[in-house]
């Protein structure tokens, strides 16, 4: 057993505290900004009679004006997976709609993260190894440029070039328009074809950070004494590069990877809109357009849960990579 109980408790507590903070912000924001959701809903459904408002007020748990009571009710419902009822798709619960969208976002973020991680780290390792060579200069130069490019614009340009002009990929959506009668293989091929452009746009914009971080860490490691020793022992460059240097440089880069997840999720929200990709981001966008507040709140919470869960997972993997972590 490599985990100490203290480490586990600390990380778990941290994750729960983060979630609690996110949930509380989610509760407070609409109340601080004013406005009565029941009235908004009643007028949006065109049934603005006082009786309807009263009924909806009761249904949303707003009949008791005491914030403490509402807060308790809100947390109680959250723990039971109840995110409220959508205005737009009334009376569908928000959680049903978002759970249908979640797999798309997770697939997008996960594949983009794994690929950008692999590409960024390889280029970072090679760049540091051959510092100043053209590979390094090109990599760093492009990385800095990509840092400055807005996600959604890059996505729009990809659509314009590869979908509109060249017609290599579909302009949007996650699956072919008629999925009935497709063999499982065709289904997968269709999903991949639809996923390539959105994933590419996310990879392009998130690789830069991984590359620069890995390169920096490699440069630090390469200057260490034990690298001098390894070189003196006459190790082959390849094993020197990967078995010695890259292995230690990976540890701090791993933390950076997890912390960047929030950014990738933010990018995915915008990317999904450009590609009409039916994930949480598109649901959020539509909710903003139709003032579907419970949906916006639910989407934020779901993104927070996803990022916190991924961070917790990383915290659990980390001791397996670096045995020193569990010591304190």
């Amino acid at each position: 057993m490599r985990y100490s109980a203290r480490y586990l408790a600390k990380r778990l507590g941290f994750a729960l505290l983060t979630l609690y903070l996110a949930a509380t912000a989610d509760f407070l924001l609409p109340r601080l900004m004013g406005g009565n959701p029941a009235q908004a809903l009643a007028s949006s459904t065109g049934l603005a009679s006082p009786a309807t408002v009263a009924a909806i007020t009761k249904e949303f748990g707003l009949s008791n004006p005491n914030w403490g009571y509402q807060y308790g009710l809100y947390l109680w419902q959250l723990v039971h997976g109840n995110l409220g009822i959508s205005y737009e798709y009334y009376p569908s619960p928000v959680s049903t709609i978002l759970l249908r969208a979640l797999p798309y976002t997770v697939a997008l973020v996960l594949s983009a993260t794994v690929i950008s991680f692999a590409v960024g780290w390889s280029l970072g390792i090679i760049g540091a190894w051959r510092r100043g060579a053209w590979v390094d200069q090109l990599g760093v130069g492009v990385a800095f440029w990509l840092y400055a490019v807005p996600y959604f614009w890059l996505a729009m340009m990809l659509v314009f070039l590869f979908a509109f002009l060249l017609g290599w990929f579909p302009m949007g959506h996650a699956l072919p328009s008629s999925i009935t009668g497709l063999t499982p293989w065709q289904w997968v091929a269709g999903a991949v074809r639809h996923g390539i452009l959105p994933v590419t746009s996310l990879v392009l914009t998130s690789t830069a950070g991984h590359l620069l971080l890995m390169r920096n860490n490699m440069l630090t490691v390469l200057a260490d004494d034990y690298m001098q020793l390894a070189r003196a022992k006459g190790l082959k460059p390849f094993s020197l590069m990967f078995r010695y240097a890259a292995r230690s440089a990976m540890l701090p880069s791993f933390t950076g990877l997890m912390l960047s997840l929030g950014n990738v999720v933010g990018g995915a929200v915008v990317t999904e809109i450009v590609f009409s990709y039916p994930g949480i981001g598109l649901a959020t966008y539509n909710a903003i357009l139709s003032h579907d507040y419970p949906m916006i709140q639910g989407a934020f919470l779901m993104l927070a849960v996803a990022v916190v869960a991924a961070n917790l997972l990383a915290d659990l993997i980390y001791p397996l990579l670096d045995p020193r972590v569990t010591l304190h």
Binding site: A22, P150, V270
Partner: protein, 293 residues
Amino acid sequence: MRLGEAGPEMSPEARLARGGGWRGWLGRKGWAGVVIIACFALMAFFAHEFVPYSPTATFPAWQPPSAVHWLGTDDYGQDIFSQVVYGSRASLVVGGLAGLLSGVIGTAVGLVAGYLRGLWSEVLMRFVDLMLVIPALALMIIIGAFLPSVGQGAQILIIGALSWLWMARSIRSQVMSERERGYVAAARVVGLSDGEIMVREILPNVMPIVIANLVMVITAAILVQASLNFLGIGNPSTVSWGSMLSLAFTDDAILQGAWWWVVPPGLCIALFAYGFVLLGNDVLDRYARKREG
């Protein structure tokens, strides 16, 4: 002479830079960044001087670039070149002010949490760690969605209030190593208060880190503002690069093949932000080299 600048703490390069005039302040990349930023700043200040048309005047719609309309027109028939030039104002004002606001908060939190040790600074940093995990853009979206209307002032406040977290961490770690140095002990012996030591002794010494972080925060603020405008969280009647792209997207500029509507605003955002990236990296590189000796 202030204590922070006492002899042995100052590297030869810094001394050279002081005597060497403006050339010594930055490297070639840094100056390139400054030139890019200055060009956009001039464009924003003198927009009304050289823009051919009002950004909201209408002409025939969907015109490709021509001698009359250098960058064509959009689906309302508005001149895109004029819009791009005027749009620089929003990026400059919101990006710059939100970045400054973030910079002030980040520097203050970093200084206090790095210099003072104790329960409160610990609590402060744990809070920063918690906030770092929550996706900032998503949080800004829900804040923006619940505000009755989001003007430039609200955008500045929202972006500024949520973009200082990385900066605070970075400055804190630098301040923590700085507080162990001789000049801080000397200042304490002389009897300076904690506040004076933080502001008058440590701050000047970590200034390159502050500037580099500030520049990065401004870069992020420019990009985030564009994203918020793209999402419709902003004032749609203010011309900005983000709102231009938002309109181009919802009105199917891509399907119309109107590249002249999509390419220029995005390139401007990227180039403007790149100017700050160049500047920030140059400052950081010079600081690192100076510290290595």
